[in-house]
């Protein structure tokens, strides 16, 4: 029986001819990553492991991004723990203030994640790198510690759901709408323990930024990983950013899939996930009522890339953010920030009454830089709208694309970009 794309990567890294869904394997890792929240726990776990040295100082990436620049003394101490660990082990890829960005935007940009890689990260959105054709998945701090010490991790080989994409997206519709549509369709556990493999002629119409957003939110459907074929678009991205050779894997023609969905990209509309689950979706034209907002956030590992910032700037340009709405824009990396500055997007935001922050995960997980008060509503380009995710337990979070968030910030209520 043939293997899926994910299974082929796992088989190669486990030095096996083939693997089957459900099989438990131990596989070699190309990259192990962690952030300022999960790494201190992993460092503590490593203290208990007999082997004290890291397996490869070039294959570990520590990115200080969640509560960075340090939001308080405890965060500063956590960051210090990571910094000292990175220095002690002479890690090649330690990213602190000045070099840091949101990890899942930063690492592909730095060329550290390429097609064919097997990557684990102590952050659930590690699945983002599947956009480039890597098998990457989120784990906890103990797995991270074991990975740093041994260069290996255990995996249960997943089965896969195949999403066959056709057509192309309409204006203002983006990767965020694709993945929200899919999560709305299959549910927050619709791909539990499974790979989400995206394929079909529609893939070529999606930009790399769209693909990063789609793969990023595979976890929001319960998926183990999301993965795209390695086409010209992916190759040209890796050649522009890459420092390492890549390997393109393809699913076998006779690979078995647990389920298959056909998604007509041209039929998709701007989509919003209502509180308190990413699967609670409606298209913008289905909303009906006028949902007033107190805040709009444009950023995160899901939607803080340059095309996200550009779309938001295009919509906001020459307009004002609605009275009593706080609009917070967070470019995901220093390079994205700089490009936004050079292209005039930052000026556009500030003139409109929005603010622009240094890269940070900050508000996405209710850390800082835009916490919601009791009863407040926010439209956000982030990835989760669970109870209390961005602040008060009775605040409300609506997930949407940068186009919808920007248009809503201008109007003061949730709406599509067509209304502007």
């Amino acid at each position: 029986m043939g293997m899926t794309m994910s299974q082929k990567i796992l088989a190669d890294h486990a030095h096996l001819e083939s693997v089957n869904a459900g099989q438990l394997i131990e596989a070699d890792l190309d990259l192990v990553l962690g952030n300022d929240i999960t790494t201190p726990v992993a460092i503590r776990v490593m203290d208990g492991i007999d082997k004290k040295e890291v397996f490869d100082k070039d294959k570990i990436a520590l990115v200080m991004d969640h509560f960075i620049p340090n939001k308080d003394i405890k965060s500063a101490e956590n960051c210090k723990t990571c910094r000292e660990f990175a220095l002690r082990h002479e890690l090649s890829h330690y990213y602190d203030v000045g070099a840091m960005g949101i990890e899942h935007a930063l690492l592909p940009e730095q060329g550290l994640t390429v097609a064919g890689d097997l990557i684990i990260g102590a952050d659930s959105h590690t699945c983002t790198y599947g956009a480039l054709g890597a098998f990457s998945t989120g784990v906890g701090s103990t797995d991270m510690a074991a990975g740093m010490a041994t260069g290996k991790a255990w995996f249960k080989v997943p089965s896969a759901i195949r999403f066959v994409l056709k057509g192309s997206l309409n204006k203002w519709v983006s990767g965020k709408d694709v993945i929200l549509h899919i999560i709305g369709k299959i549910g927050v556990d619709g791909a539990l323990y499974q790979s989400m493999e995206f394929t079909g002629e529609g893939v070529k119409s999606l930009s790399m930024d769209d693909r990063f957003t789609i793969a990023n939110m595979a976890i929001e459907a319960g998926g183990k990983n999301g993965i795209f074929p390695v086409d010209e678009e992916a190759i040209s991205y890796m050649e522009a950013h890459g420092k390492r050779p890549y390997k393109a894997y393809e699913a076998d023609p006779d690979a078995e899939y647990a389920a298959e969905y056909e998604i007509d990209l041209s039929a998709l509309k701007s989509t919003v996930a209502f509180p308190h689950l990413p699967s609670n979706t409606r298209t913008v034209d289905e909303i009906g009522e006028r949902i007033k907002i107190d805040q709009a956030v444009i950023g995160s590992c899901t939607n803080g890339r340059i095309s996200d910032i550009r779309v938001a700037a295009e919509i906001i340009k020459g307009k004002r953010i609605a009275p009593n709405v706080r609009c917070i824009v967070i470019p995901a990396t220093q390079a994205i920030y700089l490009e936004a500055l050079e292209k005039g997007y930052i000026k556009t935001f500030i003139e409109a009454g929005a603010i622009v922050s240094t890269p940070t995960c900050g508000p996405c997980l209710g850390g800082y830089m835009g916490i919601l008060a009791s009863g407040e509503r926010c439209v956000s380009t982030t990835n989760r709208n669970f109870v209390g995710r961005m602040g008060a337990v009775d605040s409300e979070l609506y997930l949407a694309s940068p186009a919808v968030a920007a248009a809503s910030a201008v109007k003061g209520y949730i709406c599509g970009p067509e209304e502007n």
Partner: protein, 160 residues
């Protein structure tokens, strides 16, 4: 190995943000952190929970973030076992890796009521609701995972 205690029952999709809100993730002291377990879904939880008690929930328990703090605060609060229809995969890994016993058993997850006295035998997978007299059986772990659990988590497994 077994546990016995009172059931705390929740619904579908209990996510890691309600198990331990991110606003507390800067805390490294485990006892202090455990004082905020389940705070956003059940303010009474930390006041009531006793050693050996059992969390029972339905589908996709532990969905969301990869934070290992989530199974850790449950373990540090005294929770002896989590029973659910299904677990989100990162939570599942993390629980095994840190040695928090978890069982997938939809029948028990449905049948057990909040406040019931429940006993769990991890060797046989037998779950008994002493309040109602009903018993259930969960699937045992694959051998590989049993080895990790026997070694009290992934660290012990690697060291061996």
């Amino acid at each position: 190995m077994n546990t016995e205690g009172r059931a705390f029952k929740y619904g579908d999709n209990v996510d890691t943000d309600v198990i331990i809100p991110a606003r507390y993730l800067n805390i490294q002291d485990r006892k202090e952190l455990a004082g905020h377990a389940m705070e956003d879904i059940d303010k009474e939880f930390v006041k009531k929970v006793k050693s050996g008690d059992i969390v029972v929930a339905r589908k996709n328990f532990g969905c969301g973030s990869s934070r290992e703090h989530a199974p850790q605060v449950l373990k540090d609060s005294g929770v002896g076992c989590v029973i659910a229809d299904t677990f989100a995969r990162i939570f599942f890994r993390n629980a095994i890796n840190i040695g928090l016993p978890i069982l997938e058993c939809p029948e028990a997850a449905e049948g057990i009521n909040s406040g019931d006295e429940v006993s769990v035998d991890f060797d046989t997978g037998e779950i008994v609701d002493k309040t109602t007299g009903k018993s259930f059986r969960a699937e045992p772990f694959p051998e590989f995972m049993q080895k990790i659990i026997e070694k009290n988590g992934l660290v012990g497994y690697i060291n061996s």
